[in-house]
Symmetry: D2
Subunit: 284 residues, 4 copies
């Protein structure tokens, strides 16, 4: 990641020849300097997906003007599209329970400048992590879960008030209501402590132990109405053996969980993840 301001153009449209030429021609006519370009055609839907990252100051006009001018081309190709500006950092609201390894990891990446986002607040159903969060100068909201309806209403209110772009469930350990998942589809990122689709639901390391698998894993995915079944962004696995107890798996697993979540979130905030049905395209 560089300090240079960049625009990132994300496009999906029905596949046909000439799309790359039309888009790159448009950018070239305005002297736009493309620093990264990625393409993909989904064979099942015959849809084309595209990501172009360009230097903001190579263009002779502002983002508004780009949007106006590009719209004509976009409608010609029947494009779904958006453009983002690296100068406008994504706002990430983190939800956490008591386990703080993912939170600790994300906050370190944030305070060291590795993760270029804003964190308007952290929400938890317990008070335990208040001190650590507030030490960072980040507001901490405790929302108890006794009355779930009220709790999720409050979480929604806090997210809206924070003008959150993305909600990260950093081992939140609570099942989100389906309407919340639907409302923020593609904007809620969960880390599940198994290599999905194996071991969805509760206590995945216990399930893994019972089945006697030889590797464990973690999965970063968008939350959807069906539990642990949303589009997968990133996964990883690591080797265990017969001598490892459930407690060992929990301990090893934390290291996979935090790196998988950090990578998935990074891809998301850099506009590298495009959702296609229940799958993702990740332009790394």
């Amino acid at each position: 990641m560089t300090a240079t301001r960049r625009y990132t153009l994300i496009i999906s449209c029905p596949d046909r020849s000439g799309i790359i030429a039309a888009v790159s021609g448009f950018i070239a006519r305005h002297n736009g300097w493309i620093v990264e370009a990625s393409y993909h055609t989904d064979l099942e839907t015959q849809r084309f997906f595209m990501r172009q990252e360009m230097l903001a100051n190579s263009l002779p006009f502002e983002l508004d003007e780009f949007i106006t001018r590009f719209s004509e081309l976009a409608s010609k190709f029947d494009m779904d599209w958006r453009i983002s500006d690296s100068a406008k950092k994504k706002r990430v609201v983190i939800l956490v329970s008591k386990q703080d390894h993912c939170l600790n990891d994300l906050l370190h990446r944030w305070r060291s400048g590795e993760l270029q986002v804003g964190i308007p607040c952290v929400i938890s159903n317990h008070e335990d992590l208040r001190g650590f969060v507030e030490w960072h100068g980040i507001p901490f909201h405790c929302v108890p879960m006794q009355d779930k309806t009220a709790a999720f209403a409050e979480i929604t209110r806090l997210f809206e008030q924070s003008r959150g772009d993305v909600m990260v469930l950093a081992r939140f350990m609570q099942i989100l209501p389906a309407d919340l998942c639907a409302r923020y589809a593609g904007r809620i990122i969960n880390i599940h402590h198994s290599f999905l689709p194996s071991f969805a639901g509760a206590k995945p390391y216990h399930q893994a132990y019972q089945r006697g698998v030889k590797l464990i894993g973690a999965t970063c995915h968008y939350a959807s109405a069906e539990l642990d079944a949303g589009p997968i962004i990133e996964q990883d696995t690591m080797r265990i053996d017969h001598g490892d107890t459930v407690e060992d798996m929990v301990r090893y697993g934390r290291d996979i969980e935090k790196t998988v979540l950090a990578r998935g979130l990074r891809y998301h905030v850099e506009d590298r993840v495009l959702v296609c049905g229940n799958k993702t395209i990740v332009f790394r």
Copy 2:
């Protein structure tokens, strides 16, 4: 693996203190030289598992005498036990369909001397691989699958006639009858082309493609009555991305399948795998 002749003693018994001392004391009293020793206690069943590899010529008597003398100690600790002799190679019968990447890999390890086994025959439901197998000087039997009952009876007959120790399903692509799995429990090794328990059954790469996972895998396990649900011996995974088609996965997958099967089979023939319920202990 060395050319030096070794005895491998495999024990399981209820856990208590003094087992290691009793066994290693027995071996030491007869001047046995232990070159590898491994232990494990299963916490759920409170059973103790042990593997001792010793130099055959360090002992003052033959295997028969060892067995006689050790039996007394074994019954005192209520042991299930066996001892194997590296001079007596395991006899491996390989079953294969048309896909030959695992067969090719196993036969190369065998002819290069890496895999110290005998291969009395290869059985297939197609003629395609006869030439390649027979080039190695190994008998090839074609058993068509039109009449499954007759076919599996013939396979059983061939296995028995070959005095087979272990049956390897090297991408055999046929579901074995439950009674065959029961008869040879812990002696039939299958390679499944997914990271089990995900994507059991048919066309696992298609299933993986549909789910949009970010890694694919392979699993080597003992066949059991329930399909793809037997004790897992070895697994591995590799990274894919959104650009990979099912055909790409099939191609990448072959490389995992063959190494995972080769490792699993090696552990088995070196008496490194102990079954405990539906799990395995692998003393690598």
Copy 3:
């Protein structure tokens, strides 16, 4: 890899804006259908690298005509460029000594159709592998190494006579003369059994054992005048531990060597590898 005929256009030129637009515009004007497109700018040399794969039958003319028409555009941007046709398989000459794990692996990929190349001959300094190679219907030439000058002259003659595109040193275990490396720069692929730059030269597993590393590796690279110092195409590593002897490392290492070589060779024959100084760009 698909059976559909494709043209692959490889370009490198000084970086500037408008290159992608010019090339994709050229292809679009002739209704060319791009199925894969990759770009890279080398920051040190400020050179731009590009690979475009297009469906051959989407273009209204043959390759000759493409070349003629594209030349004008190419000279405008001062491009080094070439275009290849998937219908014209690369001709791969394999050199091998006595260790045959890489040879066995490559020949299987070839006969199963996974590796879409021609193999005009296999050359060895020993007779051992003649039977196995000839079983495949591939000519086998034994070139003894007593007189190295004569031997390498003969190897060059055989390579030329075979109209070889690429020479693969599949554990050939002989140091090539510098002039041969220079003559076929970027066309000789070696597999070295260490994670370079560690443990160049002879007996890398012994070196690794002495140093006490916790992972071993293999490196596929283009041969250059300086031993084991040419541009790296592909590498991989695997975990070992203190219990592993040099012999164990040799055995494990074979599995890495063959997959790393197979991947590197595949990238090469699919025109995915571009050399930039002493480094490679691999458009996977």
Copy 4:
């Protein structure tokens, strides 16, 4: 790791038959319950290495008595040996410069109870991390490096005053004087940001970038007089590609560095690492 108090017995001695029997017999006679046992023979030196972990309360006497009684046996076999008590936590002094990813990671493992050690103080040559360290209630000492002799004298004084068992260089970025390394041989753990022996010394990611390797790595090792050449405890690698800049490598590398250091330190404080010449035996 469990809360149950354990004794860990570490032995090395010339190899001969009967060692395991003698040691396990000794423990069994006193009703000691062994929960983990590991062995290794170094083939070059013909030395035998052993680690036995037993439940403290299974023995009828205290550690002093164990030591007295075991000494007789130990001298019979010419053993180097020690025994540690899990109730007596190792004291870890952390040295750090400005980069805090390893520090942040270690402090989280410590405050979450995953890493069962004491941290008497953190020492740095900069003031930057004082606030973060002191938030944990851990004393922070800033020792500027202008006068290196004085600085290392002060570091030694602080380490001694803290009764430190092990000194961790968590990206300290300073070369330790040879006499300090000698004085605390096997007690200073460094994390180097390359896959040693490749890229020792300064700016390893720049070296890796220049060489064009396809994976980067990190190495946790004991510091010795020769820079980055001490016994390796743990290593790992990860894949990069031609598109990754030095800055990308630095960023990815942080994730390997912190997990490799955390694993290496954990092995050390659990008495799992035995040094043998310039290599380590790690009984995981």
